[in-house]
Symmetry: C2
Subunit: 194 residues, 2 copies
């Protein structure tokens, strides 16, 4: 049990994915479960917190998400780059990826979706909002975030804190072919004089 | 004229936004033009290249995009953090933001959308795909990318190249309240043994 996990207020949930990290989408239904990597997600609304994530209609994840009406978003820290790439490159339809890679997940309190603790730094439990046309035409799944949490060593009081002493917890951003950029070198923009 | 601008093959266009950079959305119609910052965008399809971007229905940009059926995506480098924050914090309905901030833009060859050269590192010309329900319910605008280009010092042969000697050209990722993380510290994921 990671003693650093803290709830995140729902009005701050969008900030967890605002900067475009690669995420792990988890799902479960009827005794089956899965995890896939997704580079394509974004918030779409602050309040109520809503997000969109692209889940290809041919994936096992899509099947589980539609059947259960829910999914988890687990945000991997930089230490989890290898695993993120692995679960983004294989299907979980035949072999359970949790078992294959020794991933421990516990059911979220709000929706029971599998939440991966080790190596992840933030978690969202999401209730699918059925939008058959967007799902079909763009593989885009809309959802409402009903619970959020984060590791306080990297996200606290509604803000990310990417520092030199916690780089293993920084978010990763997929560039393609298993190459990730790490969120780093934070700058505060200055007000321009008009 | 930036001598480093090169066309990007459409099958590689999604990679320009795959890692979640904050972008500038440009638009023009009937002699008016605008630019806004958007943290909420993502690819939704490789081929044909399609993206989704959240453009609030109350913005002037939304009005211009719907009227013209097109918009530009200009990706700012780290050197443009202050300007990105500025154009994300003000409306262009009354005052032209290009004039206010001395932003030079030239019409894109494919769709004529304003493209900001100075400080930007990649450009997409996008044709709006009308989806009234998604636009209304989620402020989500879908579009097809019909042309793409990038600064070859940071994106070449279909790949980003974030290095220590080109940090001013690295993408920025909005954390909130004018604070941006820079894409940095690229790691190549290793194949896990199952």
């Amino acid at each position: 049990m990671n003693p650093h996990v803290r709830p995140v207020a729902l009005e701050h949930a969008s900030r967890l994915v605002n900067h475009g990290p690669t995420v792990l989408v988890t799902s479960a239904h009827g005794g089956r479960r899965n995890v896939m990597a997704a580079a394509w997600s974004m918030p779409v609304e602050f309040t109520p917190p809503r997000i969109a994530v692209v889940i290809d209609k041919h994936t096992f994840t899509r099947e589980l998400v539609v059947a259960s009406g829910a999914f988890g978003i687990c945000i991997p820290g930089a230490a989890l780059a290898d695993l993120s790439y692995a679960v983004g490159s294989e299907s979980g339809r035949v072999t359970d990826k949790f078992d294959r890679h020794g991933i421990v997940a516990t059911p979220g309190r709000a929706l029971g979706v599998p939440l991966i603790e080790s190596g992840c730094i933030a978690w969202l439990e999401c209730r699918l909002i059925r939008e058959p046309h967007a799902e079909d035409a763009y593989d885009t799944c809309f959802a409402e975030v009903v619970a959020a949490a984060a590791d306080e060593r990297i996200f606290a009081n509604g803000h990310w804190s990417f520092r030199d002493d916690n780089t293993a917890l920084h978010t990763i951003h997929h560039l393609g072919a298993g190459k990730f950029a790490r969120a780093d070198a934070v700058v505060q923009a200055q007000r321009l004089k008009a």
